[in-house]
Structures are given as C-alpha cells and as structure tokens.
Amino acid sequence: MVEIKKTVPKMGTKSEAGMKKLANRLKELEDQLVVCIRCGMCQSVCPLFEQTRREADVARGKLALLDGLGKNLFTDPDGVDERLNKCLLCGSCAANCPSGVNVVEIFIKARAILAEFKGLSPMKKLIFRKMLANPSTFDNLTEWAGKFQGIFTKDEKNAQGTSCARLVAPLISPLINDRHILPMAAKPLHKTTPMINTAPGRSGLKAAIFTGCIIDKIFPAIGHDLIDIFKYHGVGTYIPQGEGCCGIPALASGDMATFEKLVEYHIKLFDQEQFDYLITACATCTSTIKKLWPSIYEGKSSGIREKIGRLSEKTLDINQFLVNKVSFSNDTQGIKSENFNQNNVRKTRVTYHDPCHLKKSLGVISEPRDVIRASGKELVEMEGSDKCCGMGGSFNLYHYGISSKIGNLKQKNIADTGCDTVATGCPACMVQISDMLAKEHLDIKVRHPIQLYADFLREQKLI
C-alpha cells in the first residue's frame, strides 16, 4: 500500500490569521468568480433550488458565499463549507449559465481548498486514502462486503432487482435508511474478466475500456455486454488488469491527494498499450476523465499533464463511440443502418433519462437515443428527460431526503410514459432510479442503452 503524502501543509486553524490564509487561497478562484453577473438564471434549472427555494442552495448564492469567504466576510468557514457541499454537482447551472461560469470546476476547487483547511473527516480519510486510492484493496473490501450483504438485506424480487434492509438488521438499517439498494454482484467484472487485449477486427479500431466502480461491482452485466458488442463490431478491446476509481468521489469531498494519485495510477496503467479511444459506459466516469482530469489535476510529475491531455481527448461515451466512430460503410449491420431485420422484433416502448454528466457536461444527447432505436425499441420521450435524478454521488448519502424528493419527480415522469423500461447511460442514475421506482412498487425495468442493444444482437443471434 502506498502512503499518500499531503501535497500542501495544513493551513491551520480557524484563527483570524488562519481565515486570512484561507481567504488568500480562495483568491485563486477570483478570476473565475467574477464571471458570475448575478443574473440568477441558475434558479430556473437547479434541481435542489426547485425543492428548497433557498438562494444558498443555488449556484449564484454559493458563488457569492465563496466570494465573501475570499473577502474575509466570515469568522469561520463551516457555514460556507456546509452550503457548498449541499450540491449535486449536476452542472445544470453551468450548462445554462449566460455568462459561462464554470460552476462545477469552481465548486470542486473550493471544496479542495476547504478540505485542506479543515482536514478530511477520519471516516473520509479511511475510505478515500486507505481504500479508494488503492484499487486492489478497494476490490478486496467490496468483495468481502458483497459476501455478507445478503445477511443484512433481502431481495425484493422486483423489476429493478433491488433489496431493502432486513428487519433482522436493526444495526445497519439506519445506514441504509429505507433505500431500495441494488446488491453487489456475486462476481465483479474484474474477477471474471481480469484482463483483455485483442487486436482490431473489421472496424479497424481498438478501444480501451474504463469500467468504473459501479459497473464493475454492481452492474458487471453491462461490462460483459460491452465486451460482446465490441467483439461483434470487430473493435479491438483492451482492459488492463487493476483498474480502479476515476476519482470523482474523492474530488467531490475535496480530497485532491487521492484524486491525483488515482489519475497518475491510471495514466500509467493505460500508457502500457496503444489504442484509439478510451470508452466508458458510465456518464460520470466519462465526464470526470474528459473534463476534470485535465482541469483539476495539479500534480507535478513530469510529462503527466500532456498524457492526461491526450487520454482525455481520446475518451468517449460508449453511445457516442458506437454511433459516431464505429463506421460501417461496407457493413449492412451498422448501428445506425436501417437494415437490421426488425420485422420479428416486438417493438417495446422505452423511455430515456439524460444523465447530467452526459447531456450537460458533454453534450451527448442524440447518440444514446440512436442506440435505443437501433435496438428495435420505440423511444418515448418523458417530460423533463434532462432533469437531474437527484443522485449526485455522495449528495444522496448526506441529503437522502432531498435526493429522494428530486428522484421522485423523475420517477413520476418515467411512470407517466407508460413504458415498461427506462434506459439511461449512467450506472449511478440507474441506482437512484431503481430505488425510486422500487419505492413505488412499479414494474419498470432500468437498463443501460447498450444492454438493450446487446439483447437485440442476441435476439438476432448475432452474438
């Protein structure tokens, strides 16, 4: 296990001198903060503000607070820190900001500065620095936890495949709350498929796959489908052994050290092989690697910034890759071609939820819909398909009540379509939506678009 060295000495206490130091650090953000013209348009799209109607919950308010902290307006940082952390980081505000404030980047940098000032909680230190930062330890621990989960939870045998806390586990149920959780897979992807390295086939392309924690541990089936789809389309596949977390949970908690360690670790890991694209089926991993790795990483290791730049340029969402890159000019079975024999396919209706990290951070809107249609499904748009589901990673842990209220709006919009399946391109959204649908005892399945596509290829006996 590699110990993480803190890159910057702790700034100190909440003394007046300490607060001044903190204010100075926040001045680094000044040029980004002044971009906000306080027009307040973020109020129209913030899912949290819609629930609470409080200015401190919306971007304009939080930016004003950071500005105030930088101007020594407060005697301690706790109130600002608390409000800053009450945010889904969904980026709805940034995507709709008239003056282009890079809200997510500012918030993440500010969280890092505040975490450095205040220090991480012992629990977060344990989770991020001892577990998440070390992919093999994290794998072992989650596997171990997976073996015992059945004791504490019971299978609900519903469309979503969730479990809820067993009555026999009063000790753990307060932690789980009344969540309907998706159990960890019996065999995570990295166990059944520790490593793949195949040459390009008829597509002429080679793609590395960044699996991501949730797919590896909860939805390995998505990973298997992805591998099968690549095999069918003749895409050379590379999955190196020992992939870990993209770093977003650490980053969201301001733990720059763990984030940077994970970035460096993966840059080295993927440097071992040549490939055309880095593909993920997780919207959050894609947006983290593509946008946050280059903009947030500040480490000094030689040449690593260039490597991050190159890798993030190659990074694509799976739907985008299948629709735009896997070209089939001589291939009648291309994903967008109309030549699939769809006569014998029962056209089931599927609705689609836009993950914030696909639509708002990356502008990926049409491609997942193309994949759903190419899978022989009838796409039915729901009301507010791009409204956040309320997951927001650790937001769901700390603010489960509000997270559920936001998720419940999504659940209603899904149910209103009358579809028996909702698809979405982010496994974190899948977890949240499953919880919300299970609570309402709705018989609606939650799938990733590429699961629909893989099913279709199987029905067609193509894989």
Binding site: V34, V35, C39, M41, R54, L65, R83
Partner: protein, 460 residues
C-alpha cells in the same frame, strides 16, 4: 432584533426563517451592479395569512421590509434597505390559483415564475404576452412591482397592461383589495394601477389577477441584414410610420453580432452593421400581408438581404441569436452593465448615433441590442469593476446616456425600474415636485417608512 426574529419564527416556523450570516449574504444582492447590503433575517411565508402576519410584525417593530422574488432586479430594488432589515421571500407563494378560460384571466400568487404561467395558459390556447428577458426565473410579483416589459412590448404592451386587480397588505398589515375579475371596473381608486411599478414601497402583494388574450394563430419571423445601423434604425421608424405593428422588432448592432457569432457560431454576418429581427403575428391572412409589407420596406430602406423563416426550426434559429445576445456579451468582460434608457421610437436613429459617440468619447465598449420597435434599447457596457479608472468613465458614460435619452424626450428606464440605481437621477426626468408628491403619497401610505426604504423616491 431578537424579538422580531422570535415573532417571525412563531409565524413561519424554524424551517422558513433564516438568520445565519451565510444565508444572509445570499440575500444581500440582486442582478444590479451595486454594493450589497446584508440583512438580519429572511423569511419565507407559505400562505397569505403568514404574509400578512409578517408585515404586521415589521410594522409594529418598525423593521424595514424588502420583498424578493428571484432577485433578478436590474436597478437594485431587491437589495435590502439596511442591515437591520428583513427580506421577505415569495418563493413558496408560487401557486397559480385559477386560470379562467371563459373570462380569460388568471389569478396567481406573487412567487409564480413568469414562464411557468405563460406555459400553463398556452396549454389552454391563451396568451400572457409580457416576456422579460429573465422570464425563466422572474416572478409575477417582481414583474408587477417593476412594471416589467419584454420583447413583445411594441404590439402587446407591458405588465401594467395585463393587471386587472391586486390584493395586498398595506404598511400596517391590513388587507387591501383592488380591481376585479371583470374587464371593466370603475369602483374606488385604481389602487392596482398604483401598485404596478411601486417596487415594494406601497404594499406587499399576495394575489394578482392578470388579463389573458387568445393565442395568435399564425406568426412569421424574418431577419434583415444592414450595412449600417443607421439604415436599420431608419427602417424601424419607417415600419411604424407605415402603420405596421410587428409583435417584435429587435435590433443587434455590429458589436453584438460579432459577440453572438463568436459565442454560438450560428453563421451570422459579422460584417453587417446591424440586424433587424422581426416577427409579425395574428390571423394568417394578416400575417401574410404584413410579412410581405415589412419585407418590402426593409428592401426599400437598404437591407442587403432578408431571410424569412420557413419553419419553426428556422424561426428558433433567428430568436436564439437574439436570446443569446446578453450571454454572448457577458462572456467578454467580468462586469456587465445593462442599461435600458428608452426614447420615443421615432428617435431610435438619433439614440443609436448618440450611443456610438458616447462609446468613443469615454473609450468604453458598448454593445447595443434591444427592443428597437418600442424605443427601448439595451446599451450594454462591458467593463471590469475592479479597474477603478475605467469604472469612473463608465459611470460618466451612463449619466450621459441618461441625459441624451431625456433630451430626446425619453425616459431613464423602459423596463428595469428606478430602484437604487436610478433614484438619484429621477429628478432630471420628472422634476422635484413630482418627487415630493411621490414622497408625500408614500409617507401617507407608509407612515413608519418600513416598505423598501431608499428605493424609487430616495429616503423618505
């Protein structure tokens, strides 16, 4: 102050009363470029009854009260009056109480968002035309208090043209009802009319009755490209002179065109001196005729080219260029001052020339776009408030813009309100006796001076 806070908490409960400094800082500003003032408490009533009780407490305790919707005010009307003041948030008074299709009106609480109401009535084939630029977040209460306008002012008027009745709490917390659900109403003073544009200084509204009209059946949008802004503004005057009233008639100057193009890559002609964006609406036959007449006029007055939108996608493209004007300009510099000095529409060419001269004289960047058809331009000054020397030049330029607008027979503000920003200049427009009259009126209605003191008429 603690006594006031305790009383307020009794009314709305712990959940709806904020006093922590971290929350107060977030209610210390609005969208105007002015200094912020941190209040003592913010209170969020959920019912009319609670609203009335809050006003009573502030009245009894002589605490200044500033009502805030979404805080998008561009003249500082929602900046708290003092550090001992209370901010009243209308965010949870956001219900549409009634949409009456037979009698074509709606009754709403003040916190209803403008775009939400517009969408709700449109579903029923009705139309609420006022569409201020901030309509996606602005509230009806704020629109009424500021007499907000929008792109459709030329043909459809502004907020005041749609207010049929208002009920409000006066400065003592007594409930006052004015206007009615009828088209005509001639009883008592026109108190509803007085409340429009009063900027929270005469009473606290709890219900507003709004007139609705039938949704126009057809519309046609076009964009005309001009070599010079003079030619474009002459066309504006000519369209009106020819007795054609488009629903919208907007202008973008070269500076704004280039900013929008750099921002959106929509394929705008960056060499053009100005663009006119025009929409006519109404009965299909009328739209056909007026569309053709406008097109002819544009050509006759020197438009290089005219593009008529053939479908909704093309229409959307035209208006998204206009909608992104402010965003595109905002991205150029940290501070953006959006002015709205307005002139009689025949004076648009003169005002446009004056703005160009002012930009040169004070060596500042001004992008001009706006509602040319109703004389309401938005000269938008781009600066960085941290640069003190430049900021002084900006302030001088703003004053000269005011002077010019008044000299041309115009007004300091077409739709943003007086608030704090324009209160010191009001005398130039109205003369001292109008201000003194307003102050006496205000004093009579608000003897303790608790309703948004310092706004509109200055300190009372």
């Amino acid at each position: 102050m603690q006594g006031v806070i305790d009383e307020l908490q009794k009314i709305v409960g712990r959940e709806n009363l904020l006093t922590r400094k971290e929350d107060m800082v977030t209610y210390s500003y609005d969208a105007a470029v002015l200094d912020s003032v941190v209040p003592s408490a913010a209170v969020m009533p959920e019912t009319s009854e609670e609203l009335g009780e809050i006003v009573k407490v502030c009245s009894r305790q002589r605490v200044p009260l500033t009502v805030r919707g979404s805080g998008t005010n561009l003249s500082g009307g929602t900046i708290p009056s003092s550090t001992s003041g209370v901010v009243l948030l209308t965010g949870k008074l956001n219900k549409i109480l009634e949409i009456n299709e037979a009698d074509m009106y709606a009754v709403v609480q003040p916190g209803v968002v403008t775009a939400t109401l517009a969408a709700a009535v449109e579903k029923k084939g009705l139309f609420y035309p006022p569409d201020p630029g901030s309509q996606a977040v602005s509230t009806i209460g704020g629109n009424v208090a500021e007499n907000a306008g929008g792109l459709r002012g030329l043909k459809y008027g502004v907020t005041k043209d749609y207010v049929m009745g208002i009920s409000f709490f006066d400065a003592m917390g007594e409930h006052v009802k004015s206007g009615s659900r009828t088209v005509k109403c001639a009883t008592g003073y026109n108190l509803a009319g007085m409340m429009v544009g009063s900027e929270g200084t005469l009473g606290v509204m709890d219900e507003i009755i709004l007139k609705l009209i039938p949704l126009p059946k057809a519309r046609k949008s076009m964009v005309a490209v001009y070599k010079t802004i003079e030619k474009a503004s002459e066309t504006v005057a000519a369209i009106i002179a020819n007795r054609i009233v488009p629903a919208t008639l907007e202008i973008l100057d070269n500076f704004t065109i280039r900013a929008v193009e750099a921002y959106s890559r929509a394929g705008l002609p960056v060499d053009a001196g100005a663009l006119l964006l025009i929409e006519v609406d109404g009965h299909p036959g009328q739209v056909e005729d007026e569309g053709r007449d406008v097109e002819e006029l544009c050509r006759k007055l020197g438009a290089d080219s005219i593009k008529v939108a053939s479908d909704d996608t093309e229409r959307e493209k035209i208006w998204s260029a206009r909608r992104s004007a402010l965003s595109a300009l905002a991205k150029l510099k940290p501070t953006l001052v959006l002015e709205d000095a307005t002139v009689p529409r025949s004076q648009i060419p003169a005002m446009v020339r004056a703005l160009q001269e002012i930009a040169v004289k004070y060596k500042i960047e001004i992008g001009t776009f706006g509602h040319a058809g109703d004389g309401n331009l938005h000269p938008t000054i781009l600066t960085d408030k941290r640069n003190k020397e430049e900021w002084h030049r900006v302030e001088s330029a703003i004053e000269e813009i005011f002077d010019k607008a008044l000299a041309l027979g115009g007004t300091l503000s077409g739709e943003h309100g007086t608030g704090l920003a324009k209160a010191p200049f009001l005398e130039k427009e109205t003369g001292i006796s109008s201000i003194l009259f307003s102050r006496r009126l205000r004093k009579a209605m608000d003897p303790y001076g608790i309703l948004n003191p310092g706004k509109v008429t200055g300190v009372i």
